[in-house]
Symmetry: C2
Subunit: 224 residues, 2 copies
């Protein structure tokens, strides 16, 4: 019952979403805005990585943020506290963002950005299936979740341009097999950039920000 | 587009699922089997908690396991390695188990169990909405995910009979506010049992197993 019906409807939904994502992508391209879709499990550190990234890039680029959550505005408040323009999407139970809700959020955010970060709902599954019109998907994985996650949730890692492995300061306290995880990421997506980061001690954040800066359309880079 | 259509179809799906869950529940009740639905983010430690639980209860109760994953049979292999009967469900991209797939897995698992554990797909969102016919839902939350997760993903914590806070051995290395998290759990679901556990040093596992034992139907408890 459940699963087959869901899959059929899912495909109709995904086609409608793909058309809207294409419109979003054209709009972002015309505006010269880099759009980054951040995807991970709950608690992998998306908002914290964003805070660190805004601290480094916020002064040099015009950055906006769209926060996706099922409920609460906590993440948006954290970002707004840093002085960054932010729009919160509450999905009211829906487990992912889609291109339509992002289009509405972008309307509210307004124009003139070099980079827009979209923090998706905390979920390693469904967000991978919904194109938002972003330039790049970035998958976060905390070392505390275990190194088997790329193999168990391959779609998000297969379609992401980069993997950010977070909380590496906790590596000595876990049995996370970093070499095995890196090998698995490479098997799933050989071309992906991988960053080993810790918001706690700052490891890897500069490299991640350098990677982002190179993706900003030329107009934005030259402007500052 | 996306979200509203999904909600409408979701309700038809949920009604069909509820009817099948009722059938499952009647079957489990007639068989005198306690059925436990384990729900958490990816990497919170569901399989590890199961391994610890099987080590303590497996000799005294007839225990079976149903493993839900999008793909791979890794979790089932871990459980089978402990000599416990296990059936793996691969959902092929679907982000939760439903009552129909569980009914088929139970057929395969066979009868005669005191306890069946169902490890749901790693996802704090959708599994909360799909009744499987279980007696109790248990929500796991690792201290590394952050104490704000009950407020951000309330449905699973509202409907669970117990919360298992995992990886508490990592507390000194995180800024997890345990008191605030416990208060939030209490606000969302005042009647829920809460266990602070570490599979690494064994903390809290005995209390969790005692709680489970008291839930096993009388026939199963008297049998051993």
């Amino acid at each position: 019952m459940g699963a087959p019906v869901k899959v059929v409807m899912g495909q109709r939904l995904l086609r409608a979403n793909a058309a809207l994502a294409k419109e979003n992508r054209a709009r972002f391209g015309a505006a010269g805005t880099l759009v980054v879709n951040l995807i991970s499990s709950p608690g992998a550190g998306k908002t914290t990585l964003l805070e660190e990234t805004l601290a480094r890039l916020g002064g040099r680029f015009r950055v906006g943020v769209i926060e996706g959550d099922i409920c609460t505005t906590r993440d948006a408040e954290r970002i707004a506290g840093k002085g960054t323009p932010v729009v919160q999407i509450n999905t009211a139970g829906v487990c992912h963002l889609d291109a339509s809700t992002v289009a509405r959020a972008v309307e509210e955010l307004g124009g003139g950005y070099d980079i827009i970060f979209i923090e998706n709902v905390g979920n390693l599954v469904c967000p991978a299936e919904f194109d938002l019109g972003e330039d790049v998907k970035v998958a976060l994985l905390s070392v505390v979740e275990g190194g088997d996650k790329p193999a168990k949730y391959p779609e998000v890692f297969r379609t992401a341009s980069a993997a950010v492995i977070t909380k590496v300061d906790l590596l000595p306290h876990t049995d996370f097999d970093l070499a095995a995880c890196l090998k698995e990421l490479h098997n799933i997506n050989p071309g992906m950039a991988v960053f080993l980061t810790s918001a706690r001690n700052g490891a890897g954040i500069a490299g991640w920000c350098e990677w982002l800066k190179r993706l900003v359309p030329v107009a934005g880079r030259q402007g500052r």
